[in-house]
Symmetry: D2
Subunit: 294 residues, 4 copies
């Protein structure tokens, strides 16, 4: 999931909501079932193979400040991680990413494979799978220029390699200046190269890639919801926008959050695989094969 | 779960069965629901806070061989652990323990808190909870003699402290010589001290302790199924016994296993929170507040 | 080591100095040799059993901000930790702690045993050893009130237990208001209880405790340099104070730092087991059995 | 280091010798200094970025036994790892590998990057460095056939990629039948491909590769000591052979070991970067650019 808006603690987005991503790490409700996968993946509700958070640090007066986004990852599950709980209540940012991972066969549990990935001034994460990644990895990598090839953080993760691909094309990662804008929807940017490689490799169109990406440069945010086959459902993706994002009451470790709607327009946007607040009307589904630009 | 019988690979018990403990680590079906616990515990089907295996090494001719049981533990989930997968297919033993952990509040995720625990020539694990452990820990520890107190591996785990308690009393851990015997059932050994301490501490009888212990010295095995209140159900516990434990077919990574019944009598016994083979008639429920002695 | 002064990135204190604590983690030069310890401890130059950083978050306008200090710990060595390198260049604070650990026998490598420890609004760390900790642990713990006893993060670390002791007495952790002050030296606060317990336990005075503590509430900082025997040298401790702490040049990952001395008085203070800047005249040794109050 | 001979506990080779590889993990004495590396590498005595052990399981009567070698790796240092200490005293084997790692820049600390590597019935490890690996990685990988490419465990380790290279050529990994033989020395097998790639990439001959490999199929063992420049010293490599390998006395956790020499000929061989026993005459240096075949 990702947040863009006024600075807020990471915990308010990642830890404290009653339906936070930490709950989604052991009780995801909308992941597609796929009986060809190992049971703990195909069953569809478990994301316990590590996690990560990413955020853009607040503005700083320090001469030595680093303005690139920061990432913290761990190979233990998100639901019981002391470092996460401590960091989340202290860190504040206007752009926050969080990801809980379900490791696919051939893509080991390691910090380097945990999302989000940081690359220069960008932060990126992926929910889904590149169909037949282990079969087409070599061809995907061959498409990359040397600079991009050497910057890929892991060749053992379909997501990290796709970031390299996206980075090579710089497709769509153009900042729209001051943000957040009213979110707008556009046709998904050209994610074609992987598809043609898959066809070359003899993969059937029924081997479905699910490419829900979120990328940000700290000012804008783009989220895609993409499925490679018109006959299949994409992985779930929702967004919520409003003038403010607030907790119902301040006491307690956990609580419910909601969006406010005033005449000040849209100042906050969240995107997530599953609604994070319990008010269903806060959330809109992103249409299939569409990109959300904030 | 635990196995006692002819030497077998750890994988045949822990990894390969279609309903192995690894599946139980993310899809436990019989854990009690308890809405007072954090969601990922109260929901009841997740044991992802580390795991451990224990086994007695085969007989050795090496002068330097250590005859105490061996333990391997890890804080990452069992379902995606390369060391476990490699070790399990190579290690062989006649007494094998395996445990997947759900960490309760106040009892951190750490290797020292992972079951099974080894103590001299014994190996021990616990499924359940000591009610109000954080409130009565100090009194429980005060009961222990110095030697036992200093041997407790972790004061931050109700189970490790209970092992200390059991060790202090040496209750019931008497070997019955050559094993396995036909399993027999007995009244559970005196687990009273904790109960009286709980009463002193003002805990209501409705604060229920679930004390399913398994302990072995490499020749015998004792498993308890205990609940502190007559009004509540104990944690689940089953056993299966037969003349042999075999895989249906040898191909593939996973498969179904079953017990054989010949006139040679009982030579194999498994105990587990949930049946590990799919043949329901292989398994008997251990009655509440009873100890199984093999 | 610890820093108090104007907000600065954690990296400027912990990572980038040419003689940073990360270098001290594999090349400590002033640790006492002790041939009774396992070789990797007695040899004296290795602190590779995990590390931690602690800091007080900057002031925040967020209603949900948590004003207690934050801690990040890891069981892998500090010299090759990606999370540390990423966090350190992004986090800014006016009070920063960092610690690299050498685990003594009986005190396992675990996140819970890594310094610094956070307790309410305090942060605490220890360099040294409580002599005979495993022999006197039970008596040390018996001295603690219930509230303190239950708050001790680990009973398997002499340092965590000593924090409990210090917390019980609240000795000396009195804030001096706006900070930093000109550092002043005082006789070390009463660390006697452990000593009398050691005597009761029959330990020889030659079993030496080294109690270099640093504690802060975010406004003041107290550092002790204590050895229990007049015949033995304490663990090393230095401080540096000045009007500013600056990097010589801004390029490159690493560099040398120095203190500036203007007429504005003392605004920055660092304490460390070994000088962090290469200008020897920046650093004063804290006398034995003395507390530095900043 | 590696052992081939009669079955023995892993601890007798890896943990208990007074100059065991665990000591070498924090006090390596013969690593080359290289001031171009980060301080903790160039300084030359620290191998704390994870470790691994590998061994061939003893013969088994189990139908489900896996006869490939087993590997256990960890990202925490070898000198304080409870799993290692427990496993080592229980596991017995006639072919044992152990490796302590110093991670080079660009090759992260991860279990997948820890040696030894297992591949089918082979086990492999590397001490040294492929010069300019990050610059030539892409070309090295391009040399590999698809089957080998996809079997490489990590593309982020020069050693794992070199194993792929060696595996592609199958150079020299031919078993000599029953073992161990009297060790014999041969010219090092063709390690040329990497060199010509390095030349193509414009690397100066002074960028030196150090390629000390050890590989075994459980019956034979081959160890190379290779340096790419005639002007530079290779990484250290010694071997010891005799009729038996024994501990001086059986008491205590640690002790000194020595080789025996009887008329029964050579039945034991050890290879190591530094002598593991204190009897200097037990050890012969492997000449530069030579392979030892046992």
């Amino acid at each position: 999931m990702a947040y863009i808006g006024p600075p807020i603690t990471v915990a308010d987005v990642v830890v404290r909501p009653s339906r936070s991503i930490i709950k989604q790490s052991y009780d995801a409700r909308e992941r597609r079932n796929d009986s060809s996968l190992p049971f703990h993946l195909g069953y569809g509700n478990l994301n316990g193979d590590g996690f990560g958070i990413g955020w853009f640090p607040p503005d700083s007066a320090c001469a030595t400040a680093d303005h690139t986004p920061c990432v913290f990852t761990s190979i233990t599950p998100a639901w019981n991680n002391d470092n996460l709980n401590r960091l989340a209540t202290k860190l504040e940012s206007g752009v926050i990413f969080a990801h809980v991972r379900a490791a696919y066969p051939g893509m080991p549990v390691s910090e380097a494979n945990c999302h989000p990935f940081q690359w220069g001034r960008y932060i990126f994460m992926h929910n889904g799978v590149v169909a037949g990644f282990m079969q087409i990895r070599r061809r995907l990598l061959a498409e990359l220029g040397d600079a991009v090839y050497n910057a890929v953080q892991s060749f053992h993760s379909d997501s990290a390699v796709r970031l390299g691909d996206a980075g090579g094309h710089r497709s769509g990662i153009k900042s729209r200046g001051t943000a957040p804008h009213s979110p707008s929807l556009a046709l998904s940017p050209p994610l074609r190269p992987a598809c043609s490689i898959q066809a070359e490799a003899g993969m059937a169109p029924s081997d479905v890639s699910l490419l829900n990406f979120v990328v940000s440069d700290g000012r804008s945010l783009i989220a895609t919801r993409y499925v490679s086959s018109a006959d299949e459902a994409p992985a779930s993706l929702y967004y919520a926008e409003g003038s403010a994002y607030e907790r119902e009451q301040l006491s307690g470790e956990e609580g419910d959050y909601h969006l406010l709607y005033s005449d000040k327009g849209s100042r906050v946007c969240l995107v997530a695989s599953e609604p994070v607040t319990s008010a269903a009307h806060d959330w809109c589904e992103v249409p299939a094969n569409t990109a959300l630009v904030v």
